[in-house]
């Protein structure tokens, strides 16, 4: 298949220039909306990571404390 457009396709490409000349434009407020959502999602994910890390550290600490206080059941 040739990459070169035939006469009808060339005419179509010329017609499509009409759409290229007047593209749909976004609302400038869109950036604000996107960044507003991105900022709170970033904050929430940061909070979740911090909470997870804290919970992990507490579990480690608890494990250590219980391990240290548990009497040895099988003395040699």
């Amino acid at each position: 298949m040739s990459d070169e457009p035939d006469a009808a396709q060339s005419r179509l490409i010329t017609l499509l220039e009409l759409l290229v000349a007047e593209p749909p434009e976004s609302d400038p407020k869109l950036v604000e909306d996107i960044m507003g959502t991105a900022r709170w999602q970033y904050a929430v994910s940061g909070l979740l990571v911090a909470t997870g890390e804290l919970a992990g550290a507490l579990a480690d600490l608890l494990g250590l404390a219980l391990g240290a206080s548990r009497p040895d059941r099988h003395p040699k």
């Binding site: 298949m1 990459d3 457009p5 006469a7 009808a8 396709q9 005419r11 179509l12 490409i13 017609l15 499509l16 009409l18 759409l19 290229v20 007047e22 593209p23 749909p24 434009e25 976004s26 609302d27 869109l30 950036v31 909306d33 996107i34 960044m35 959502t37 991105a38 900022r39 999602q41 970033y42």
Partner: protein
Amino acid sequence: MNDSALVARALGGELDAFALLVEHHRESVFRLAARLVGPDEASDVTQDAFLRAFHKLSTFRGESSFRAWLMRIAHNAALNALAHRRPVPVGEPPEPDPAESRGTATSSAPAAHLEASERRERLTLKLGALPPAHRSVLVLRDLEGLSYEEIAQITDAPLGTVKGRLHRARQELIELLRNNTYDWELPR
């Protein structure tokens, strides 16, 4: 500052760097979305695409341009929106009435402007009638001017498939326009 540097800064937690990326690429993502899903859903798809990109930023390896990477995400978000859309009743929406448009023209310049506007409306309608996979290739090539290689990356299709789809998309659109009452002066 180039896109790669902005990505690195955004990954370091600088949200203002990501805001600059959004600002740089807002129009091209919105145009693609509007041409694939229509103007009513384009803002939602654009927002969805940028937020997906934000959360996947660490997966950007720089193997393609940031623009191509982002357009791929936007393309997928648009196809996803189309897939979840309720089926519409068969039949095309009414086309603009040329007599009505011309009735308001008082000189040749406004008449030409109205005619161009009417043609744009009709073309947009016909473009919307193409299957999504064909429409996206035609939009990316003939409206956005991207290379075949970039389109292959964005649509995740081999180069030969991209060329084949583009050829078929153009032929389908030509047939749709030929079956129209309006004379598009398309040679046989």
